[in-house]
């Protein structure tokens, strides 16, 4: 549908007072992360532990890497205005292909990685084509794709499969000091994606397409290209997550992705990181903050030995509350002409 000139202007102007209003959402994410860290270090201290001990930091960072890979990809897909619910199955599939092809021989590592990522890319391509070409809502396209893969997994793989060689397992098991290699690789991928988003045309186009598909199209952006690129990269990153899991587990597993619940959790992390669910606005840096918040939260709850059912309650509440914090304070579209603070424009319900 076409946008008319003033449509974009009709966005509401919400203002929270002073300091808070001036922060970007990424800054707020990290502020929240900082609060979680402070609360965490106090709570952890009450059990006689040290939140900042190398072992704990390593545990937290390990918690960020798998979800991190997937959430970075999910950020791209959400930025371009789509969603990816198939990531957890892609992750499982990649772990199986990776471990299966490696078959405990280091000389197979390269071909296994290439094949796993290649197949992930093909799935991403299919997702992208369905979304961009057939105009199927990303939610449905990737839900469907996830179902298709899950059927394949359930039929063809009974339990764990393959084996990763020792050299490959090191990736999941070693670290530089308290920083796991896997986290470093994840951060490396994040850097590449950030570079792509800000310094390449396709990155700019991803933002543009998510912001307004028609505007982008009329400006000469090839919309399907941006959508497909985002989906392909997202799937490849999910594949990376699968390989990382294969490295940590030593085998591939048809359920490792869905066990982690990475599909919904990654979307939650992206939104927690300040990216608009509708697309067009947000950042990978914010997403990393969201992932970090989740990882710290899990760590704290584990140290405190919270009942596992209550963990889900806390996660659920934190997602909603945190997003409410900045959803309420939408971007200021127009400075007030008179008075300070002022009212809320209730144009958009």
């Amino acid at each position: 549908m076409t946008t008319t000139r003033s449509a974009a202007r009709a966005t509401p102007t919400a203002q929270a007072g002073g300091f808070f209003a001036r922060l970007s959402s990424t800054q707020i994410v990290y502020l929240v992360a900082l609060l979680v860290m402070i609360a965490g270090s106090i709570l952890v201290a009450t059990t006689g532990r040290n939140f900042f001990s190398p072992g704990n930091i390593s545990a937290i960072l390990t918690g960020t890497s798998v979800l991190g890979f997937i959430a970075i990809g999910q950020t791209l897909v959400i930025l371009v205005g789509s969603l990816d619910l198939s990531v957890s199955y892609v992750t499982s599939l990649a772990s199986l292909i990776g471990a299966g092809v490696m078959a405990n021989r280091s000389e197979n590592v390269l071909s296994a990685v290439a094949l796993a990522l290649g197949i992930s890319a093909v799935i991403g391509l299919a997702n992208g084509l369905i979304v961009a070409g057939l105009k199927v809502h990303g939610f449905i396209a990737t839900l469907g794709m996830g179902l298709i893969i899950s059927g394949y997994l359930a039929t063809n793989y009974k339990g764990s499969f393959g084996q990763t060689p020792f050299s490959f397992r090191l990736i999941g098991a070693t670290g530089l000091g308290p920083v796991p290699i896997s986290t470093l690789i994840m951060l490396g991928c994040a850097t590449l994606v950030i570079l792509m988003l800000h310094r390449t045309r396709i990155g700019h186009h991803i933002y543009a397409v998510g912001g307004d598909r028609d505007v982008a199209r009329m400006s000469g952006v090839r919309v399907p290209g941006a959508v497909i690129t985002a989906h392909v990269i997202c799937s490849v990153l999910a594949g990376m997550a699968g390989l990382l899991l294969a490295s940590r587990l030593g085998v591939g597993s048809p359920t490792v992705g869905s066990q982690g619940g990475y599909d919904l959790l990654s979307i939650a992390a992206v939104v927690l990181g300040g990216t608009l669910l509708a697309g067009g606005k947000g950042s990978v840096v914010g997403t990393l903050g969201g992932v970090l918040i989740f990882a710290m939260l899990d760590n704290i709850m584990s140290v405190l030995q919270i009942n596992p059912f209550l963990k889900d309650v806390v996660r659920g509440v934190v997602i909603v509350v945190a997003v409410a914090v900045y959803a309420r304070r939408t971007v200021i579209t127009r400075p007030p002409r008179f008075g300070h603070g002022g009212h809320q424009q209730e144009l958009q319900p």
Binding site: K158, G261, P308
Partner: protein, 384 residues
């Protein structure tokens, strides 16, 4: 997450997982293991039959003299999850057992991490215990056999005692591995029961939970083989343990033709299966369920011809008792095979009576009658 993932009771001897997992393990049947478990069903168990959780089949013993030590010890427990009634019941029992041992000054505390069905999380949990836990002993209930092997090996490398129970791992570095006889035994008991009562050409519907979980697959692998030998027609379905699904499947089966037997992976959907027959106005089938009370009660109510195989829930007590023995320096079985005796019709009333007032999701052979808090803690399902 709300996804039920690999869960359900499970456990397989380390040896069970094929050593080379390079092939897709689509064939679960393993003749040697089948034969072994076939024998174990009737083997003599050492120890007091009144305390089945301490019984074991004679075999290799681990010398734990090196671990002998005075004073209360800290145990670190890496749990796969408590995401199904079987695990929940066991977890409650384990905690009551812990209280006893704490009172006796054997265990100072047990730090638990629950991986919520995620192998990756459980690996991280074990690594955390190793680096931060100050653990004197590790208890591990692995989420998956192959995936947890490296992490269990790392725990072993600390030189502290490691107790693995329920599902196994592909290493025998652990001080002991505790489990009931196993999936093949379950399959043999149930399939034999059904075959005895059915005729050649009769139809059995097998309601399974999930694909790919070794102990569950072994149950079916054994049962399928026996059905085939006996000429019984068996169709299997995966239900995700969802009673709605179960009822639909049975209804559709009954719409196509008669069904004489029902075989189940677990008991908690059995009620729905029986009700599908009732609603369709068909004769009730011969059936195998599990020692979950919902099934036992329905069995009693309907008076069907049934058997409740057991995947001994009392095994959740054993790991802590094993830790006690380890620090006392007593030798313990390297592979601690616990008895696994189905409940036949004759014993039904007895087991129902013993578990009066327990919720439907409770397991008859939970083995915690002598623990403090009995029966309220189990009745109210107080999960720590």
């Amino acid at each position: 997450t709300t996804d039920q993932s690999i869960s359900e009771d499970g456990g397989s001897p380390a040896a069970s997982a094929p050593a080379q997992t390079e092939e897709a393990t689509t064939e679960w049947f393993d003749q040697a293991l089948y034969d072994e478990q076939f024998e174990q069903r009737t083997a003599d168990f050492e120890g007091d039959p009144e305390q089945p959780w301490l019984q074991y089949i004679a075999g290799d013993m681990t010398d734990t003299a090196d671990f002998a030590a005075e004073g209360a010890k800290k145990v670190c427990f890496a749990n796969a999850s408590i995401s199904n009634p079987w695990r929940q019941t066991g977890w409650i029992t384990m905690n009551q057992q812990l209280k006893v041992l704490q009172d006796e000054g054997v265990i100072s505390e047990m730090e638990t991490r629950d991986a919520q069905d995620d192998s990756n999380t459980q690996i991280a949990d074990i690594d955390y215990f190793i680096s931060e836990g100050n653990c004197d002993a590790f208890v591990i209930s692995p989420n998956a056999t192959a995936a947890l092997t490296p992490a269990v090996e790392r725990a072993c490398e600390t030189g502290k005692p490691v107790v693995v129970f329920d599902r196994g791992v592909e290493t025998d570095c652990a001080t002991t591995f505790i489990h009931p006889i196993g999936g093949f035994a379950w399959g043999i008991d149930t399939a034999n029961f059904l075959s005895e009562r059915l005729q050649q050409g009769d139809k059995v519907v097998a309601l399974r939970i999930l694909p790919g979980v070794d102990v569950l697959e072994q149950r079916w692998a054994a049962a399928e083989k026996i059905f085939e030998e006996k000429g019984i027609e068996a169709t299997d379905y995966f239900t995700g343990a969802d009673p709605t699904e179960i009822k639909k499947i049975i209804s559709d089966e009954l719409a196509t033709g008669d069904v004489q037997g029902v075989w189940m992976d677990a008991g908690d959907g059995a009620v729905a299966a029986i009700e599908a027959f009732e609603d369709a106005g068909k004769d009730l089938p011969v059936m195998t369920g599990e020692d979950e009370l919902s099934f036992l009660r329905k069995w009693k109510d309907t008076g069907i011809d049934a058997l409740a195989p057991v995947y001994s829930n009392f095994q959740w007590r054993t790991p802590l008792l094993a830790v006690q023995k380890i620090f006392a320096g007593e030798e313990i079985p390297a592979e601690w095979v616990l008895p696994q005796t189905p409940i036949p019709a004759e014993e039904l009333d007895d087991w129902l009576k013993r578990n009066e007032g327990m919720p439907d999701g409770h397991y008859a052979k939970f083995g915690g009658e002598d623990l403090p808090g009995y029966p309220e803690v189990w009745q109210q399902r107080q999960i720590p």
